[in-house]
């Protein structure tokens, strides 16, 4: 377990965030912080506001109240987007698109290399390194649509790695993913944190694949119900493993 001292720079911060669709409140006074080198898991049952909060954190939605800071800037004004790696829940890439793993991962480098510039050798090295870090180098020339769900998800994680981000945000990245891909996924996150001292915000309710890596768990259900270490969560009778009183079951009980 890594320490996350208060002196570490805050990469992502939300304070007193409120949001509602019409009169129906979705988020109430949500506070959240991700520091450098910290692995934070944001969990909550379906309809808890996780996706809405994620959209606000990424600048796709404006909160009704509260402040969000991404690397110290308002998300919609933040320009150094390469510092943020993002893995969406369901990439919209259609299976018939004849794009290789390498082509997909290369697109992840554009925010850093400059989308208008030709790729230089360091850019190609970064792409190769990102593919290696998720264990897909033997499949780099394969069409993404021909890969398994887990392998596809690793390709999209590699796309997020390609810009060598300081903060990685992942939305339900291991949903429906095979055990081998979950292990690779966990290894690659460890690698990113160790190599780049990056922060990670993982939105999920399936944490068994990364249970040993998580520094802090935030449980959301409209408001933050818990924010602390996995050990503190365990003391409340919840483990992150796959035992009877595991997190998914506990989250279901929160509805």
């Amino acid at each position: 377990m890594r320490s996350a001292p208060d002196a570490d720079p805050v990469l992502l911060e939300a304070a007193g965030v409120r949001f509602g669709y019409g009169r129906e409140p979705v988020l109430l006074d949500v506070d959240l912080r991700v520091r450098r080198g910290e692995f934070v898991a944001l969990v909550g049952p379906n309809g808890s506001g996780k996706s809405t909060l994620l959209r606000i954190l990424l600048g796709a939605l404006q909160p009704d109240a509260g402040v969000v800071r991404l690397f110290g800037s308002a998300p919609d004004r933040f320009r150094e987007r390469w510092r943020l790696g993002y893995v969406p829940q369901r990439p919209s890439l259609a299976s018939e698109v004849p794009a290789t793993v390498e082509e997909i991962v290369t697109s992840g480098r554009l925010s850093r290399s400059g989308w208008w510039r030709p790729l230089r050798p360091p850019d190609r090295d970064a792409v190769r390194h990102a593919i290696q870090s998720v264990g897909l180098e033997p499949l780099a020339a394969r069409p993404v649509g021909a890969l398994s769900g887990g392998q596809q998800q690793r390709a999209f994680i590699a796309r997020a790695f390609a810009s060598e981000p300081n903060l990685l945000v992942l939305d339900e990245p291991v949903a429906g993913v095979d055990a081998e891909s979950q292990r690779r996924f966990s290894d690659s996150l460890t690698h990113l944190i160790a190599e780049h001292d990056a922060g990670v915000l993982l939105v999920s309710h399936e944490l068994s694949a990364v249970a040993s890596e998580v520094d802090r768990v935030i449980v959301l259900k409209g408001r933050v119900l818990f924010d602390g270490s996995p050990a503190d969560l365990t003391r409340e009778g919840v483990s992150l493993g796959i035992h009877r009183e595991d997190l998914p079951l506990w989250l279901e009980g929160l509805r």
């Binding site: 919209s92 698109v97 697109s107």
Partner: protein, 281 residues
């Protein structure tokens, strides 16, 4: 002038002119189509073509060069469709239908005001490469070169945007600008090709070569290059068939493209199972 050693029927000057213009269209139409198909906008070329038809009608009515007036109408129409889609005020197909029908109706009205449909309007609707002039070839080359240079320069960011728009936005890529660039390039391509393949058939040359290439390709890059190869081959076969069988050249080119797709599609299904398994191994 073009080399004289070209084989029959391209030893004839008018066939050489048709070939020169056709080859350029055969390159840039599938090139832009490769991006449109990934964006699920296969028919946008058709919709923009109908808006361009209004421009042709306006040009003929006002005595302005129809290519210029069509270019203005097509670019404005393409940006309009793109804005409607972006603001989600209308779904992609409804936005297309709105411009599609308004464009064709406006073209018919302009044509009626100008004395009814005439042969020159039919030339733009269905294309007539065998009568293309040197100045028209020069315009097609210029527009085609502009399209190819812009697309090749922006291919990586366009690829990112057309394959995963939501992610591209989070990554800070210029999604709206690239969508607008793609819309404008499509409009320019429609107008550049209308004299050769016709407003009503240009979308086929944008889409069918790409559909064929996707059956055989394993990467976006190879899809792009193979679709251009199919487009060029279809132009050559279509022009030859047009001369030999005395049939409409634009129709023959599109039918050649469709035939290539059918042959590849059937051939792929008929390929030995082991071969297909190796392909995916």
């Amino acid at each position: 002038m073009i080399a004289l050693w070209l084989p029959y029927p391209f030893d004839l000057p008018f066939m050489q002119r048709a070939l020169a213009a056709g080859l350029v269209v055969g390159v840039f139409a599938p090139m832009i189509g490769t991006f449109l198909v990934q964006k699920r906008l296969s028919l946008i070329g058709d919709g923009i073509g109908h808006v361009a038809f209004a421009g042709v009608g306006a040009g003929l009515l006002l005595g302005v060069n129809p290519v210029l007036s069509a270019l203005v109408f097509a670019v404005v129409g393409a940006l309009g469709v793109d804005r409607l889609r972006a603001r989600r005020k209308a779904s992609g197909d409804v936005a297309l239908a709105l411009f599609f029908y308004s464009g064709i109706a406006l073209g018919v009205v302009f044509a009626s005001l100008g004395g009814g449909l005439n042969a020159s309007i039919l030339t733009y609707l269905f294309g007539q490469p065998l009568t293309v002039t040197r100045s028209e070839i020069a315009a097609i080359f210029a527009l085609g070169a502009a399209i190819a240079i812009v697309m090749w320069t922006l291919r990586r960011v366009l690829f990112a945007v057309v394959t995963d728009e939501d992610w591209s936005r989070v990554a800070g890529l210029p999604v709206d600008a690239m969508n607008a660039v793609l819309a404008v390039l499509t409009a320019v391509a429609v107008v550049a090709a209308m004299r050769i393949v016709g407003i009503l058939l240009i979308a086929a040359l944008m889409v069918l070569p790409v559909a064929t290439a996707q059956l055989l390709s394993r990467s976006f890059r190879s899809t792009l290059l193979l679709s251009v190869a199919v487009g060029v081959a279809s132009v050559v076969v279509g022009l030859t068939a047009s001369f030999v069988f005395d049939i409409a050249a634009s129709g023959a080119m599109v039918l050649a493209t469709a035939a290539v797709f059918a042959v590849v599609s059937i051939g792929k299904r008929a390929a030995p199972r082991t071969l297909r398994q190796e392909e995916h191994a």
